[in-house]
Structures are given as structure tokens and as C-alpha cells.
């Protein structure tokens, strides 16, 4: 339910209001920061954009969100607003033009501090074009059917933005009627109408750039040269408001005026808005808001003491809910629901109402029967009613013959002709069962009169009055109703609902398990469904044989219903003692409540020819207008901002987030200017929430969302019944972290497998190398041992020993000691990979001693190690010395000199002079080869072998 809480305003105004005074509601302005508004526009999403003397705001019904302005705009005021291509365009008093996206990210105001909010707000960007912007006030924008963008200025004529180029239309060069443009509007024929100080110019620009102008002046039907406002309606008309001669309507096809206001004491027209084909609401420069009834041309101003009577209205805007927005002098914003208003009729306690076929109103009160005496204005001034009968009139009926039947309290029925002349009276004297006639209904032949004593019937010409439905007993009948199929329904007090069909009476005494006793009111909708109300059981709908029941649980304001009617748009109007509901009969969950002071008197409702519903109450008459135009009747949800980890993100373009961006806040709004406070939200994060959540908050937060696909859905309702309500949604995904991505897992598996494989291969290779090394070493040891226990060596050694054992026993002892040292060393070192150079040299020393004793001066070993330290493979040097001895001639005349030295290059060099034996000793060439391989296997530097003519040189790397 949404409600208009303006009881106090109503009480203050209703005494003096003129016909159809809308009730203005001031809008909350604290968030404006004192800005004076100048112009208001509703965009296609439903937001209200308000231009101000300093600034631009977006309004959601609750607060104004400031839009950041570039410096160019800072000192100027907004003079016009327009929506095109998803942007709001703002024209300024200094000629500047800016634009801002409608659906950008509008992060909520977190601090309430206007300056801080400005930093968060979207920015109005300067429209930058090569041609430069006008220097005079921008008064209007429009777009023609080719998509060209037109700009009106006050002083520089018109500009057109077409094919990315700006062109000008002015008075001197192009024949514009004046350079001072007040307003622009485009018609369906592709023309742009420019309202100027000197008339209207109809401008077109062809694709080739050819300009065409046709001017309309006084001779063409304009009442005034100065045309200040233009409004193109969707029925092929162009409305023009002038400076001092009122309003004229041009037919766009013929360019002829098809309507104009007659006399105009109201001053300049500043803005226009039209409701269907019925009503034009006019903002004026000094006379506030006017209403023009388009059926009659009647113009009504607000009453003289209304605060909105003698003011300047800057801007008017009709919103999608049917509210009329007005920017008043002093820059204040007001809204009014002009569909609902009070009729200053001068009548009070209206008990019954009738709008006859000619559109004239008949009203019955305790004082008498009143007839509207002229139909010039459908909503007349109080003096338009005249009293035609001094009776307490409680029911009215218009017969198909156009006669008006008025039922009184106690004195029967009075029948009038359409002009209000009394034709006849039917009373108890003529046989009426009771003189108090609560309701009258009938057809071309028969009339049923519901009285406090039962029902009487009579012929429509008033003859043959009879006691009608005796079977209804003598109970009260509050209402008798003949439906479109010719059936007659009786709302009884105590016996439920009675139906007379084919001369048989049938009683409905229970429905949906509820006992039906007292029925107050009944009506029929366009689909033939019967709606009836009870004294306190709520509302029932009968379709075929099926009942539906509506109670306060369905959103009814109350279960005490005083009357029912169906308006021209098919809405069920439900009267209560304190207001009325509008029920959308197609969407039966949907109700809108209007509070109306003293409520609605019992069955004091009527529908006029256009379909408006009029309700009588203690204070007079209320209108619930049914304009031939549809309005939005739900709050419109809109996601306004999304923030991730408390930082707002551009959610229109960003939809994918990383796994660490998992704290989401969604801001949303439900645009429902009729009653912004009543909006309820229902939201659900698809992919996370199992159920909908219902809340009044404007945000939903989700900390710590796991990776996945999500859609945030939000719906709005103003009564809490989320049935067939509009929705906004936003889809996004949070990516799985790197280590949960399938490709990463795959890649990791592949690399791990690769690593293991590489390790295994490496290890195999190493093991292979090690085993080879081991084999080499074993072979080397074997060879060494084999060579050292080589019989030649032993034989030679023993021969040497024999020669010295006798002549020099002590030397012989020494010789044996060296021999044994030599063998012990071989055995001691064979298992080791490396031995120190020093150990090796000791070994070589022993070996050399043995050789020297054998060859005497034929063999010489020279070692120059200069204290070099390091390690070599065991027996490496010994093997080289042995090789030298093995392959060369050794004689005193040709001594063999073996040199062992270092050159500080990381090698130890073994060099001997070459004097090859003529018959070389049998050799496996194993020793040197084995040394080279072993060094290679251990990953050391390679052994270098150099043989030139004179020397054989082997360089063995020293391991440090």
C-alpha cells in the first residue's frame, strides 16, 4: 500500500480550494545543500535530474545526489536538461554544455558530507567539440527523427550537431524568425519547432546539409509572437505556450491551430505538461499552476490564498507514476498527484452523486438535490450548482430515457427530466413499500427501488408500482444493481447477496468459508466480474461461480468498505471511512491507498463518461482521475553501485573478479516517488543465497564470497507482496584462485612429473657414471697392481738389490724399505679418489729411488713444486713416471730426465724427453687412458697430453 499522508494539508486547504486542487508535497531538501533548483527532468530509468543555480543533482525521492561539475560550469546555472543516448545533457546560462551518463556507478553517500560526496559522484563532463560551445544561455535541446541533436540558445539562434559537425541557424543568414530561442520540440515529420521572441520557426536540415525554415506567426494562428514553451504530445499535436496570450495547440500535419485558450489573465507560460487527452497542466510566470480541461477548454487557477497561486513556476515534469513535479520560485521542488484532487463544489456531506450522459453532475445531500447548471467546464466553480429539490437525497439513478430518479430519506422518489424539471414523485402513498429509497437501478422497462422496507419495482415510466421482491423480506437493501447481462443483484442487510436471474432469486450466504450477511456495495468490472463488499469481511470478487476474497492481508486498507466503483482504466475504487484504495483488477495484488479526510460516504460514488470516479464525502467531492494514459504502478528497482572490498567498481563494464576480491556490497534503489519511504526490497544472490531476503535497506553485503558464478537480483514492492514486480539484476563471476584453475593444476602436474622424470634420469646418469668410475678405478688399481707386481719390475728390482746387497748392505736395507713403502702406499691409496700432492710425491720419491738405484745416472727425476698444495688421483704421477721409463731408452749416455713441476696454472706437469725404444715394450695403453677417463668421470678439468718432437708432456689437473 502506498499512502498520501497529507491529512493536515488537506484540512488546511480543503475549505478554500478551488476545483481540482492538487496537493503539493514539499520534497526533502537538506541534501541539496541550499542549492536553488531551476529545472527538473525524469530520465528513462526513472531518476529525477534537477538542475540548479549552482549544480546538478540526481534525486531518488529521498535525497539529492550531487553530480560533480567541471570548472567551466561552476559559476553558471543549469538552464536546460535533456536525455539522449544514455546521457543527461545539461545546458548552462553561460552557453556551456555538459553530459553525464544516466546509468553510471553512483556510489552511495557514505559520509553525508556534500564535499566528500562530490568526489564520489559521477562527473558532468564538458562537451568538447572543435567548433566551440555557444556563449549565450542554452535554453533547450531536442533530437529530430534523423538523430541530429539541436540546441537552442537565447541570442545565438539554433545549433545542430549532425554528422559530428556543429551548424548554426540564425536570423540573419538562415531566416530563423529570431535568434532568441526559448524552447525546442521535434515533431514526427522530422521538423524541429523553435519557439522564439518573434514566433515559431520550423527547421529541418537535410542529409546534404540544406537548411529549411518555415515560420509561424500571428497570421498562422499564434495568439502571441513570443512563444515561451513547446510541448509535442503523442497524439500528433504541438502545444505552444505564449508570453501573454495563453496556449495554442497546432495540428502537426496541417500546421493549423486546433485549440486555443480563450481569455488569458494569467501571464507568461513557463512550462506545460499534458495528461492523456484530458488535461493540460500549465506553469506560469506569476500565477502558479493552472489546469486546462481539454474537453471544454476551461482554465482553472489555484485559489487565491494557496501558496502556489501567485508564484513563478520554473519547470514542470510529469513522472512515470503520474506525479506532477514543479520547481517553484526560490528553487524549491514540489510534487503533486494530480490524479487525485478535491472539487470545491460548495457542497457538503454529499450522500449520492451522478454524472449524467451529458456530463452534468447531480449531487444529493441532506439539504437537497443539486444540479450542475452548465457543462462549459466539466469541473465548475461552486456557483455552477443549483438546488433543484429541498429533500434529503440519498440515491440517484439515470434511466435509459435520460430521466433522473432521486431517492430521498422518507419521501420516496422524485423523477426529473435532464434539465432538472420535476416530472413526478413516487411515495408510500403511491404504494412504495418504504419512503426511504437507498438505491435505484433498472433497465428500459423496469426499475427496482431498494428501500428500508424491502424492494419495490415499477415500470420505468413510473406506472404500476408494486411490492417487488417479497421473498427478500423486509430487510434493508443497501444497493440494487443491474449488471451488464441484465441480472439484478441485491445487497441485503442480514441475508447476504441476492441475485435475480430469469425471475428466480438466489442467495449467496457464504463465500470462501465466510458467512455473508451484510453487503454494502456492488459493482461490475469490464470483464464482467462482480465485485461486492461486506460490512467488515472485506471485498469479494465473483467470476463465474468462483469467489475471491480480499482482506487487509492482501493489502486492503481496511475491511470496512463503504462503496465500490470501476474507473475508465479498469481500476476498482474502494471507498473507506478515511480514504480510498485503487485496486488493479488485472494484478489483484496491487493496491494504492489515498487518504482522504472524512472518507467516502456509503455508496456515494459515481463514474463519469470519460471514466473518472467521483466520491462524495462530508467535505464535498473528491475526484480520482482516470487519464487515458498508463502510469508505472510499481517501484522501479535499479542497482546503483557495486563495491568490492569497500571500493566502488565500474559494474557496467566489469564482471570478472579475482578470488581475493570477495567482499561485495550492492547498492540499489527503488524509484517510487509516490511514497519513497514505503519501498521494500527483495534480493537474492543467485549462486549463493538459497532464498530471497526482504529488507528496507538500500544495500546488501556479502563478505567472503567463494569463487563462482553469481547473479544479484533485486526486486521492489511498495506493499510487500512481491508478485509480478519489476527486477534489476547484475551478473558477475569470481574466479577460482590460480591453484584451483584447471589449466594451472594441469600445468603443475605436468611440471611436477617433468621434474621427477628429470630427477630420475639425472640420478640414473649419475649412478651410471659412478658405477663406471668405480669400474675404472677397480680396473686402474688392478692394472697398477698388475704392473707393479709385473715380473719385470720385481725381477729388475731384485737384480738391483742383488748388486747392492753385498757391497752396501745399508743401502740395500734402504732399498728394500723404499720398495716396501712403495707397495704399502699403493695398497693404502688405492681406495681413495684423491690423495694429497705431498703423499703422491712421497710415493713418486720411493719409486724414483728404486729407479735411480737401477739406472744410476741414466735416470733423473727433477721436481719443482714450489710448495704447491692440492690433490691428485693416487698413483697418477707415479704411473706417468713409470710410463716414461717404460717407453724410453735409459742409458748413462742418453739419460732420461723426468720433470715434475707446476706453472701456477692449476696443473701439475710431468715432462720427459723423448728417446723412444726401438722395440717398444708391449703396452695396453691402459694407464694414461684410464687416468684421462677417471678425471673426466669425476667432472674435473681434463688431463692434457702434449707430444712434440722432443718432449712428452702430460698435465694433470690439481684439485684444490
Amino acid at each position: 500500500m502506498n499512502r498520501f499522508f497529507y491529512t493536515h494539508l488537506y484540512l488546511a486547504c480543503c475549505i478554500s480550494v478551488a476545483a481540482q486542487t492538487p496537493i503539493f508535497l514539499s520534497q526533502p531538501s537538506q541534501s541539496l545543500g541550499g542549492a536553488e533548483l531551476t529545472v527538473v527532468l525524469q530520465d528513462s530509468h526513472g531518476w529525477l535530474w534537477c538542475g540548479a543555480k549552482k549544480g546538478l543533482f540526481r534525486f531518488d525521492g529521498l535525497s539529492f545526489q550531487p553530480i560533480g561539475l567541471a570548472d567551466t560550469f561552476a559559476t553558471a546555472s543549469v538552464t536546460s536538461l535533456y536525455e539522449s543516448q544514455g546521457l543527461i545533457w545539461a545546458g548552462f546560462s553561460n552557453g556551456a554544455i555538459g553530459h553525464v551518463p544516466i546509468a553510471g556507478n553512483f556510489p552511495p553517500a557514505l559520509t553525508g558530507d556534500t564535499e566528500t560526496e562530490k568526489k564520489h559522484a559521477p562527473l558532468l563532463a564538458l562537451w568538447e567539440i572543435e567548433e566551440g560551445l555557444p556563449a549565450q544561455k542554452i535554453t533547450a535541446f531536442t533530437e529530430d527523427s534523423s538523430g541530429a541533436f539541436w540546441i537552442g540558445t537565447y541570442g545565438e539562434g539554433l545549433y545542430v550537431w549532425k554528422n559530428n559537425r556543429l551548424y548554426q541557424f540564425n536570423a540573419n543568414d538562415d531566416g530563423l524568425i529570431s535568434d532568441d530561442v526559448y524552447a525546442l520540440a521535434s515533431d514526427k515529420q522530422g521538423r524541429v519547432w523553435a519557439a522564439t521572441d518573434a514566433g515559431i520557426s520550423l527547421c529541418t536540415m537535410s542529409a546534404s546539409g540544406k537548411k529549411q525554415i518555415q515560420n509561424l506567426g500571428i497570421a498562422d494562428g499564434l495568439p502571441d509572437e513570443i512563444v515561451t514553451v513547446l510541448l509535442a504530445d503523442d497524439r500528433g499535436n504541438m502545444w505552444a505556450g505564449t508570453q501573454e496570450r495563453g496556449i495554442v495547440k497546432f495540428d502537426i500535419a496541417t500546421l493549423r491551430p486546433s485549440f486555443r485558450t480563450m481569455n488569458w489573465p494569467y501571464g507568461e507560460v513557463t512550462s506545460l505538461t499534458v495528461f492523456g487527452s484530458r488535461e493540460l497542466w500549465v506553469g506560469t510566470g506569476r500565477d502558479g499552476l493552472l489546469r486546462v480541461d481539454l474537453a471544454t477548454g476551461g482554465v482553472q487557477a489555484l485559489p487565491g490564498d494557496s501558496p502556489f497561486r501567485h508564484v513563478k513556476l520554473h519547470s514542470l515534469c510529469k513522472d512515470r507514476e503520474g506525479l506532477l513535479w514543479a520547481v517553484l520560485d526560490k528553487g524549491k521542488l514540489y510534487a503533486a498527484n494530480v490524479r487525485f484532487g478535491f472539487w470545491q463544489s460548495g457542497l457538503s456531506n454529499v450522500q449520492t452523486l451522478l454524472s449524467d450522459q451529458k456530463g452534468l453532475f447531480w449531487a444529493g445531500t441532506q439539504e437537497g438535490l443539486f444540479l450542475q447548471n452548465s457543462s462549459l467546464n466539466t469541473v465548475p466553480a461552486p456557483s455552477d450548482f443549483k438546488k433543484i429539490l429541498a429533500q434529503n437525497v440519498i440515491s440517484l439513478w439515470e434511466s435509459p430515457r435520460g430521466e433522473i430518479w432521486a431517492g430521498t430519506f422518507g419521501n420516496g422518489v422524485f423523477v426529473f427530466d435532464a434539465q432538472g424539471r420535476l416530472l413526478r414523485q413516487l411515495s408510500e402513498r403511491q404504494g412504495l413499500v418504504n419512503g426511504s429509497v437507498l438505491s435505484i437501478s433498472g433497465d428500459r422497462e423496469k426499475v427496482w427501488l431498494a428501500t428500508l422496507g424491502g424492494v419495490s419495482t415499477t415500470r420505468v415510466d413510473g406506472k404500476g408500482l408494486s411490492q417487488g421482491q417479497a421473498d427478500l423480506g423486509t430487510s434493508y437493501v443497501y444497493k440494487v444493481f443491474r449488471d451488464s447481462r441484465g441480472r439484478v443483484w441485491f445487497c441485503t442487510d442480514g441475508k447476504g447477496l441476492a441475485l435475480l436471474e430469469n425471475s428466480r432469486l438466489r442467495f449467496f450466504t457464504s463465500a470462501m468459508g465466510t458467512t455473508l450477511k451484510t453487503i454494502y456495495s456492488i459493482t461490475e468490472d469490464k470483464r464482467g466480474r462482480i465485485w461486492f463488499s461486506t460490512d467488515h469481511e472485506g471485498l469479494f470478487c465473483l467470476e463465474g461461480n468462483d469467489f475471491k476474497r480480499f482482506t487487509t492481508e492482501n493489502g486492503l486498507h481496511s475491511q470496512n468498505i463503504t462503496g465500490l466503483a470501476v474507473d475508465g482504466n479498469g481500476l476498482i475504487v474502494i471507498g473507506y471511512e478515511d480514504g480510498f484504495d485503487l485496486l488493479n483488477s488485472e494484478r489483484v495484488d496491487h493496491l494504492t491507498f489515498f487518504e482522504a479526510g472524512s472518507g467516502v460516504n456509503l455508496n456515494a460514488l459515481c463514474v463519469d463518461v470519460p471514466g473518472n470516479v467521483w466520491l462524495g464525502n462530508k467535505d464535498g467531492i473528491i475526484r480520482s482521475a482516470a487519464f487515458d494514459e498508463t502510469f508505472v504502478d510499481d517501484p522501479q528497482p535499479s542497482i546503483t553501485a557495486v563495491s568490492v572490498l569497500l571500493k566502488s567498481v565500474d559494474f557496467l563494464t566489469t564482471h570478472i573478479f579475482s578470488h581475493s576480491d570477495n567482499y561485495f556490497i550492492f547498492n540499489f534503489a527503488g524509484l517510487w516517488f509516490t511514497n519513497p519511504e514505503s519501498v521494500r526490497y527483495r534480493y537474492k544472490l543467485e549462486g549463493y543465497d538459497p532464498d530471497w531476503k526482504i529488507s528496507r535497506d538500500h544495500l546488501a553485503s556479502y563478505p567472503n564470497l567463494p569463487p563462482g558464478q553469481y547473479t544479484f537480483r533485486v526486486q521492489t514492492s511498495e506493499h510487500g507482496n512481491f508478485v509480478k514486480v519489476p527486477e534489476d539484476s547484475w551478473s558477475f563471476s569470481i574466479q577460482y584462485p590460480l591453484w584451483q584453475q584447471w589449466w594451472f593444476v594441469l600445468l603443475s602436474l605436468v611440471s611436477v612429473t617433468g621434474l621427477i622424470l628429470a630427477f630420475v634420469r639425472n640420478r640414473e646418469a649419475r649412478l651410471k657414471r659412478e658405477s663406471q668410475l668405480k669400474r675404472e678405478r677397480v680396473e686402474s688399481q688392478f692394472e697398477t697392481l698388475k704392473s707393479q707386481i709385473n715380473p719385470h719390475f720385481l725381477f729388475n728390482s731384485f737384480n738391483t738389490l742383488i748388486t747392492i746387497i753385498e757391497e752396501n748392505p745399508s743401502l740395500a736395507v734402504e732399498y728394500v724399505e723404499h720398495l716396501s713403502d712403495f707397495y704399502r702406499s699403493i695398497i693404502a691409496y688405492r681406495e681413495r679418489d684423491f690423495i694429497s700432492l705431498q703423499e703422491e710425491m712421497e710415493l713418486v720419491g720411493s719409486f724414483s729411488f728404486l729407479l735411480q738405484k737401477r739406472y744410476e745416472t741414466g735416470f733423473q727425476l727433477v721436481s719443482r713444486l714450489n710448495g704447491t698444495v692440492g690433490q691428485v688421483m693416487p698413483l697418477a704421477l707415479q704411473m706417468l713416471v713409470e710410463n716414461a721409463v717404460k717407453h724410453n731408452i735409459i742409458a748413462a749416455s742418453k739419460p732420461l730426465t723426468v720433470e715434475i713441476f707446476t706453472e701456477n696454472d692449476g696443473y701439475i706437469t710431468v715432462r720427459n724427453n723423448i728417446q723412444k725404444k726401438i722395440k717398444p715394450e708391449a703396452s695396453t695403453h691402459f694407464g694414461l687412458q684410464s687416468l684421462i677417463i677417471r678425471y673426466q668421470l669425476l667432472g674435473e678439468k681434463p688431463v692434457i697430453v702434449v707430444e712434440n718432437g722432443n718432449f712428452f708432456t702430460v698435465k694433470v689437473p690439481i684439485k684444490t
Binding site: E130, E131, G132, P134, A135, E156, R165, L166, Y167, Q168, N170, N172, D173, D180, D197, A198, G209, E225, I226, T228, Q243, E268, G285
Partner: protein, 191 residues
């Protein structure tokens, strides 16, 4: 809003004022120049072509805010090659058929030429290039210095607007839009 009503009065007053100062005014004769600089620049993907002329002739009439500019197409020089200049004159601009590039029209803003200072103004007029006339609004910077006006303007000329067709292969060398840069110093002429 009551412009209509006060129009007569206003124009009478204006007429009186303007005739009053008419004799004293220096704005009775036009400003002229015949050595203004025009730079032409085409930035295509493969080549940037620049050429200039120092023979821009112009006149600004402060009494009615009108102006006229003209430059001979053959006076452009400084192309990347002599052949390019020949192409410019023969293939594109067709200098023999359309010898002049002109821009004539009115200044939209009212400028007080009697008061020294810098102004940003928009010139609305007809740009004739290659014999094709296009209506253009061109923004320019004006600096009034005694009896001199310095004018600086920058704008683009889409070749298509002026029926200058670029063969397909050449369009990597010549851009669809060329930039023009105008710098001129106009002096009050004693009439």
C-alpha cells in the same frame, strides 16, 4: 522576456549611442592582412605531410562583424617532395580549376575591437575548398592590440566534405582529415 516591448526603445537607444561614438570610432575601416600563415597537416599511418603558405589574405570588418579569408592553393610549399606538391595541386586541390581556398562569413560573438584583450570567438561562414562550399563554425583566438588583431585558429577539414577523393593505395599516406592552422596579424587600414 519583454524583449518585444522594449525592442523599439532599446534599438533607439543603441542607435543613439552608436551614432554618438561613430565619428570617434576606429572601427569604421576593416582590418586587413596579406601575409598570414596557413599550415596544413595530414597525419596518415605511413606519412605525415605538412605544407604551409605565407600568403593568406584576410579582412575583418568590425562594423558588421564580417570577415573574409583567402589563400592561393599554389602558394603552399614545404611538402616532403616536389612530386607531392605537384600531386597536391594537380590531383587533389586541382589548383588550376579551383585556385583559391576561401572562408567568408560572420563572427558569432560580439567583439569590442576598441578594447585591447584576448577573445575567444566563433566564426560562422562558408569554407570553400576544391570548389566545394561547406558551412562551418570555426573557433578562433583573437587578440586585439591597438590597431592590430592577432588571429589564431585550428580546425579540421574532412577531405570527403570537399569531394577530394583519395585513391585506395594512397590512403595510407594521406589522412581523411587534414588539420589547418591559421595565424595572421591584421592591421587597421586607413581607408
Amino acid at each position: 522576456m519583454n524583449i518585444k516591448k522594449y525592442w523599439l526603445l532599446l534599438s533607439a537607444a543603441l542607435l543613439f549611442c552608436s551614432t554618438g561614438s561613430f565619428q570617434m570610432s576606429k572601427t569604421t575601416s576593416p582590418y586587413r592582412c596579406d601575409n598570414g600563415k596557413v599550415t596544413f597537416k595530414s597525419e596518415a599511418t605511413l606519412e605525415t605531410i605538412q605544407a604551409r603558405s605565407n600568403k593568406l589574405r584576410g579582412a575583418v570588418d568590425p562594423t558588421n562583424n564580417t570577415f573574409a579569408w583567402s589563400v592561393d592553393a599554389i602558394s603552399f610549399d614545404g611538402f616532403n617532395s616536389a612530386l607531392q606538391r605537384e600531386h597536391f595541386n594537380e590531383n587533389y586541390i586541382e589548383s588550376s580549376k579551383f585556385p583559391k581556398l576561401t572562408f567568408t562569413g560572420k563572427i558569432i560573438e560580439k567583439i569590442d575591437f576598441q578594447k585591447d584583450g584576448r577573445y575567444t570567438a566563433r566564426a560562422k561562414g562558408k569554407l570553400v575548398v576544391h570548389g566545394v562550399e561547406q558551412e562551418r563554425i570555426i573557433r578562433c583566438e583573437l587578440e586585439v592590440l591597438g590597431d592590430k588583431i592577432l588571429v589564431h585558429a585550428q580546425f579540421t577539414v574532412p577531405l570527403d566534405d570537399h569531394n577530394i577523393r583519395i585513391p585506395h593505395i594512397v590512403n595510407q599516406k594521406i589522412s581523411e582529415e587534414v588539420y589547418l592552422n591559421i595565424e595572421a596579424e591584421l592591421r587597421l587600414t586607413s581607408s
